[in-house]
Symmetry: C4
């Protein structure tokens, strides 16, 4: 099993799931209506779109880093990746829930929406761990020249992910808006952290 086609399939699912998020951004405005008010009123759907798109971009980038260390694939790895992508492709649904119910007069609905959102990302992080530890445990599918420092770095970072998302989900059950802001800040943190922390590590030469 070459990883080439696996990466094409994974890249396709990431790109499609991220781009489908825009279908959740909608404004219903039957004439006569005040479009300007409707567009401004839809702000939670823009925030939800941005948070999910950036988070999926980060997961995609991390998947890329992981695949760089992997030199072999077996059917189990393939099936685990399919299950991982199944959770990734699920993201547009909770994103729509959050877009539609942040600001819902019933706080219970806000809570439900953010909780489903948090559970989805917790599961994504769990499945990403399963994929990674299946491949790296005992060096099972790693490249012969995999960098042990990078491998340890991935393991150390990944193991934290599900707990952070679980924590944010629990925070969202107490206060939906705090939870929602937490998901945004965590995405932002990753963007900045990976830019600064990863600068030296990942610069690689691409010239053919």
């Amino acid at each position: 099993m070459e990883t080439g086609r696996l990466e094409t399939f994974a890249d396709g699912v990431f790109a499609i799931a991220a781009t489908l998020l825009i279908l959740n951004v909608d404004v219903s405005c039957e004439t006569p209506c005040d479009l300007r008010a409707q567009v401004l009123h839809a702000w939670p759907s823009y925030v939800a779109y941005a948070a999910s798109f950036v988070t999926m971009g980060i997961i995609w980038a991390n998947h890329h880093t992981v695949m760089n260390q992997i030199g072999r694939a077996d059917r189990t790895f393939l099936m685990l990746t399919v299950l991982f992508l199944m959770v990734v492709a699920f993201v547009p649904f909770p994103t729509r829930l959050v877009a539609e119910h942040i600001g819902d007069p019933l706080i219970a609905n806000e809570r439900t929406a953010v909780a489903v959102y948090g559970i989805t990302f917790t599961l994504t992080a769990v499945m990403f761990n399963v994929v990674w530890f299946y491949a790296s445990r005992g060096g099972r599918l790693l490249r012969a020249d995999a960098d042990p420092r990078v491998v340890r770095g991935i393991s150390r970072t990944f193991v934290v992910g599900p707990w952070v998302y679980l924590g944010l989900t629990l925070a969202a059950l107490i206060s939906p808006k705090v939870g929602a802001i937490g998901f945004l800040l965590f995405a932002l943190f990753w963007v900045i952290e990976s830019s600064v922390f990863g600068r030296d590590r990942d610069v690689q030469d691409l010239e053919q």
Copy 2:
């Protein structure tokens, strides 16, 4: 005709059709409503999403195994692949029927939904056989170094597929819920079987 672009097109259709499945997962909840109850009540759409996504992942993985044994392509092979992908890309429709009608008060509607689902996957399996036997009969399009054991293994496994799906479809006509569980268990069986059975066969070296 290179297979490279054929695989890109096929991977694209698989990835898009699988990711579009999420559009069938929907909860309509006009305010005021109880979002939590609606989200829980939509469980058949999650199950249908998972069953179809995993089944498509398996078909994609098998398509990959098949293409590894194929070294040439002609226009007939191309057109048969297009017809095969046409059935694959149809899957989101019966998945939506199942998502919406499992639990329908009219058992006749449940039966219709599961039957259309079963017929679609039976046709998928039939078309996959047509594609494979066109390519492998007399070694027509196989690679010069195709592994005869793998070729025989694919032929032996593939010929069973349509009959299993036909059987599940008939079971669904008698009892829709038994049929639906059957489709789920069959997908699960494939995930486990291919992981265990295929472990030795498919481990290949990916290092450049």
Copy 3:
């Protein structure tokens, strides 16, 4: 400008536009309703799905044949390809019109739907000619080793396309159902013709 990324973009648009066709296949069945009757009643949407998917598969395969003869690209070629893909990506809209209005009690609506369908495919054929003749006129962008027999064969076949689609569109204005059957038969003809006619021409070795 490499053609590699151009082909990736084109393959993406073809695969997505073809797979999006399934969103037009829909059955609205609020409980209580007779799902079986609704599923059978939706037959025009299955026929429209199949006709459009197969036609797009054929156009994709022909685009592939064309790109095999092309060795250089300039910005004009790129922009003409974008305009060509714009028409290809438009196909889901007329397909939905046909799916919804074949069987419309008002024959004028049937006529409109099939006419828009026909005009779209006529434009697709026209744009494909523009792309091809821009690239091949005087050998402008052809590979140094382009096969003159294949180049002449493409030119001879392509020039017929728009006229056939224009003829079918005019037939559809007189009798929508005859026109619709004509589009189906033409797609079928291409599948069979290209399989038989193209067999010797296109068999190529894919072994690395």
Copy 4:
């Protein structure tokens, strides 16, 4: 970080976002209705589809030209590209607003729709500049053999983009229809300009 997978992801997002535009082209025509009148009446959605598809095709082509000059990537570059793609994938939303509200009896709604459209493309141009100047400033990520003339040409052209889109957005606030025509003309100008101006610069040999 190889740019290969980054380009696959970017090409995927461009192709999907452009192809999703067709979902905004819709005609609701419950029987009995006059489909022909409805199809003609929907002209703003065809124009919006064409303008956005062509503009995205141009941005995709320019992204390609930019990536040809880039030889290395770091995490910051990756994250900036994700943010750039997030704005690109947003385009279907303002395109729908324009399709639905050009011709709105309330001119304020026309104005809002075109303004959101303009702001989105202004942001796209700004983000494209951020990506480019991050990579090219001091030659940070450029190829060793990057052509200084092409690099200067890109910088000179890109810096103008946001101001043109900002100008068109302001024009749209005064007169929505003038603004809309401006966006169309600017896309057309780019198609023609890049075809003529870019002819000598970009002809490259693709033969393997």
